[in-house]
């Protein structure tokens, strides 16, 4: 199961957004204006493999890089929604999501402002806030 799918399934009952309606596996679609997307954008080599024999017991740690982006016509709401997702995902784990063990999920930093786009339904800019997350998970 892709990490973004597992995370969206986990988040769906915990947030005000609804998977498939305004909560998406990323990257974020053009519409609706107000929504959140979880995108698995990169995968890193397993830490046990790159760090040598002393960490070989961590061979099952497969780090994935995930970005959560919240978009809203209100800047304050975009930031607040992004921060709500940060609170749910940062320091998550160990937990089994969609049958795969997630040892840990750690945010790389607080939500940052990506400014406004220029593609809203009424032609208005929509504010985007995002944060990046590294999840260390079992393979699968």
């Amino acid at each position: 199961v892709p990490a973004e799918a597992a995370l969206v399934t986990y988040l769906d009952p915990l947030v005000t957004e609804t998977a498939g309606t305004d909560l998406f596996e990323g990257p974020m679609p053009e519409f609706p204006d107000n929504c959140v997307a979880v995108a698995h954008y990169d995968s890193l080599a397993p830490e046990g493999r790159v760090m040598g024999a002393s960490l070989s017991d961590n061979a099952g740690l497969w780090p994935v890089a995930v970005q959560v982006m919240a978009r809203n016509v209100s800047k304050a709401t975009a930031e607040a929604r992004c921060r709500a997702y940060l609170d749910l995902l940062d320091n998550l784990g160990p937990v089994t999501l969609s049958g795969v063990l997630y040892h840990s999920c750690e945010a790389d930093g607080e939500p940052f402002n990506l400014g406004q786009d220029a593609a809203g339904a009424q032609g208005q800019g929509r504010w985007r806030f995002a944060f990046n997350l590294t999840c260390r998970k079992a393979r699968g």
């Binding site: 990169d42 890193l44 790159v50 890089a65 982006m69 940052f112 990506l114």
Partner: protein, 150 residues
């Protein structure tokens, strides 16, 4: 400005070895990290997006900060930076847009680029980072004729 900062954390033995060797150790570690930063930059260059609002300009802003030592955290830190954005963009875009341009190009996964891609620094940084400790140890060995680094 968007930046990749490579830190070596948790490698206490290596850091204490660098300190034990004093200036020689520090120079060897800095040389190794500078070379790795250049490697990140070389890998990043072809991935820098060509933003229509500043054609070719973002690529020109890609640069490596000289390695420095600092005590930003408990214990000594050696850091080196690979950076994109900054003043060079201001002339073409104005200060307000230039302030966010590099980070939007780096972080916005929804942008469709004709050339380049998002995460143009992070991906090369992640590729190269695992090889940095070995590169430092090799430099320490070379600097001490194979007698310094354990």
């Amino acid at each position: 400005v968007t930046a990749i900062r490579v830190e070596i954390e948790g490698a206490d033995e290596m850091l204490s070895e660098i300190e034990r060797l004093g200036h020689v150790g520090l120079v060897a570690a800095r040389d190794a990290m500078a070379a790795k930063a250049q490697q990140i930059k070389a890998k990043a260059l072809p991935q820098v997006p060509d933003d229509p609002e500043s054609p070719g300009l973002l690529k020109d802003t890609l640069r490596v900060y000289a390695p420095r030592t600092a005590s930003l955290k408990p214990g000594k830190t050696i850091f080196v930076g690979v950076v994109a954005g900054g003043r060079k963009l201001e002339k073409a875009m104005g200060k307000r847009k230039a302030n966010v341009s590099a980070i939007v190009q780096h972080e916005d996964l929804t942008l469709k680029h004709r050339k380049g891609q998002a995460k143009f620094l992070e991906r090369p940084g992640n590729d190269v980072a695992p090889s940095i400790p070995d590169a430092i140890m090799a430099k320490l060995d070379a600097a001490t004729g194979g007698m310094g680094a354990r």
